[in-house]
């Protein structure tokens, strides 16, 4: 009797606490998403009312080589930025969690790329990637020269095979601090005494990391992985930042770029763009569902 009253009270509190977010969902998010799904079945150019065309947009998408090329580029981007980006962020977060001299300064410096405006970041990276005078080729040239290898180095952002990787590298650099901050916050939840107890028990640094820190950090790591995947599939800015605007090889053309161009450049095809948006969302949803299913195996809660 008592428990059920408690349970009912808990249920009421649960709806009360989530009420603002549910209202927001209905008010600001649900309507637009429903609208987009509707557009995806219509021919719509934003100037005339949408006209129902059934699955035409989806059939077109299936046969659009540019969409598949964009999806391939996006997958490379996700595969390139997500695992490596998180591994690096975790390594640096562990270093930045120590009480070293000047640690606050270090933490701030690692956050600078996150706050730096995209214009500035884009300009400096284009310069780094420049073929003849760029920093990267100067360094590589020296290294290869010392090893006695003669090689023609590419213009990284222009070459159709390297361009996407140039974008990946820059994106990792720019996003590193962002993941570090989240992981640092997560590390604050790891009780120091636990690690110290383990150390007294004779556990080495790797064992302490593996058996104390990692399990405690797993909810945060899970969050970072899910969000990085969602964000990675929606990559839009980095390609633009490197000014590969006249990219007629479509070597850095991502799905969201394709969506944006379809919707807003030239004659607008919002209906088709919406269909691509829906398909992209479904792909992300499927991957997130897999992540949610697998998390039970590795995400640890006290």
């Amino acid at each position: 009797m008592k428990t059920s009253r408690l349970a009912r009270a808990e249920m009421l509190w649960g709806y009360l606490f989530t009420a603002p977010a549910i209202v927001g969902l209905v008010l600001f998010t649900a309507g637009p998403i429903v609208a987009v799904v509707r557009y995806s079945f219509c021919e719509y150019n934003m100037l005339r009312p949408p006209e129902w065309t059934g699955f035409a947009n989806y059939e077109r998408l299936w046969a659009d080589p540019l969409f598949w090329k964009a999806l391939r580029n996006t997958l490379i981007y996700v595969a390139g930025t997500v695992p490596l980006g998180i591994a690096l962020a975790l390594a640096f977060a562990l270093l930045l969690d120590r009480s070293l001299r000047g640690i606050k300064l270090f933490r701030t410096i690692f956050f600078l790329p996150v706050v730096s405006p995209v214009v500035a970041v884009g300009l400096i990276w284009s310069w780094i990637y420049q073929r003849d005078t760029g920093l990267l080729n100067l360094a590589l040239g020296k290294m290869l020269g010392a090893a006695g290898i003669e090689a023609t180095l590419p213009a990284w952002t222009v070459n159709e095979h390297t361009a996407i990787w140039a974008v990946v590298l820059m994106a990792i650099w720019k996003g590193l601090g962002y993941n570090i901050v989240i992981l640092l916050a997560g590390l604050q939840e790891v009780p120091r005494d636990l690690a110290e107890a383990a150390e007294i028990d004779g556990a080495g640094p790797w064992q302490r990391f593996r058996h104390v820190t990692l399990p405690m950090l797993s909810p945060t790591l899970f969050f970072v992985a899910v969000i990085a995947t969602i964000g990675g599939f929606q990559v839009f800015e980095p390609a633009y930042m490197l000014r590969v605007a006249e990219d007629y090889n479509f070597s850095v053309h991502t799905v969201v770029w394709h969506i944006y161009e379809t919707a807003f450049i030239g004659r607008s095809q919002m209906g088709y763009a919406s269909a691509m948006g829906v398909v992209l969302a479904l792909i992300i949803f499927a991957l997130t569902a897999v992540q949610l299913a697998v998390q039970r195996r590795w995400v640890h809660f006290r």
Partner: protein, 280 residues
């Protein structure tokens, strides 16, 4: 090896790694600073000069005295970013607390739905959102569309805080319930203080995103004096590039408050560490 010596050595190694990487991380920022003090021509020099031949402090003065009204834009930015941050922290922490610590039907579905809202790219949703804000709510040329939605939570914040609330030990709550605490009391007096590192993180990110948001201001605002700073700076760019140093000076000024907030936020991180005695 003596553990103390080993600790010292490992600290020294960690320090060196951080110092070397810091150069790579800070370089663009320093380059931004250098460029902001150059003339437009020197900024275009190839290869670039490392430091301006004659620092042009004028660039910073121009920002505040020209038609851009950087001062007023600064206040607009503060208003929008702060309200968005405060609103997000409150709404997301409430929803996240319920999703992590309270049992009620539909809880998991609700969580997945919140997560799903992050999956449709804004490039396709913004037109209906724009129509809603301007035609539906009449919020054209006001700052309202930029912060009011924050009062109603978002998938990112809810997910982030939910993960942290899940990490809190169960017995804490049980003890509180026995003491006669309602969920509101547990949320306010126990969960929120313990989740401080996560709240601060979310706060810094929300502030940063709101401060650096370009699209929102550019589509909803039509009067230049209503623009927040970062979006306002894009007007310096024009159709064919523009004055790089002036843009960089603007970018630098726009970055300072976010960095300052981050520095303050770090204090909370240190506190989080001392608090862990409560747990476990």
């Amino acid at each position: 090896m003596n553990p103390r010596v080993r600790r010292r050595l490992s600290d020294a190694a960690a320090w060196s790694v951080l110092a070397v990487s810091s150069v790579a991380m800070a370089a663009p920022f320093l380059w931004m600073l250098a460029t902001s003090l150059k003339t437009p021509e020197e900024a275009a020099a190839v290869p670039p000069t490392l430091w301006p031949r004659e620092p042009q402090w004028e660039n910073f003065r121009v920002l505040f005295t020209s038609e851009l009204h950087a001062g007023r834009m600064f206040l607009n930015s503060f208003q929008v970013a702060w309200l968005a941050t405060a609103g997000t922290l409150l709404s997301c922490s409430m929803a996240a607390f319920a999703l992590a610590r309270l049992r009620f039907p539909g809880r998991n579905l609700l969580f997945v739905v919140f997560l799903a809202t992050l999956m449709i790219p804004w490039q396709v949703t913004w037109i209906p959102v724009y129509v809603l804000m301007t035609r539906g709510l009449g919020w054209k040329d006001t700052l309202l569309p930029l912060w009011v939605p924050a009062l109603f939570g978002n998938g990112f914040g809810i997910f982030l805080l939910r993960q942290f609330f899940l990490g809190l030990p169960k017995d804490l709550e049980n003890a509180a319930v026995i003491d006669g605490c309602t969920p509101l009391g547990i949320y306010w007096r126990i969960a929120l203080p313990l989740a401080k590192p996560a709240l601060v993180t979310l706060g810094v990110f929300t502030f940063l995103w709101s401060w650096n948001d370009l699209l929102g201001p550019l589509i909803y605002l039509t009067s230049l004096e209503k623009f927040p700073l970062t979006a306002g700076l894009t007007f310096l760019q024009g159709q064919h590039g523009g004055n790089w140093p002036l843009q960089m000076a603007g970018a630098l000024i726009a970055t300072v408050p976010v960095v300052a907030l981050y520095l303050l936020a770090q204090e909370a991180f240190v506190k989080g560490i001392t608090m862990t005695g409560l747990k476990g």
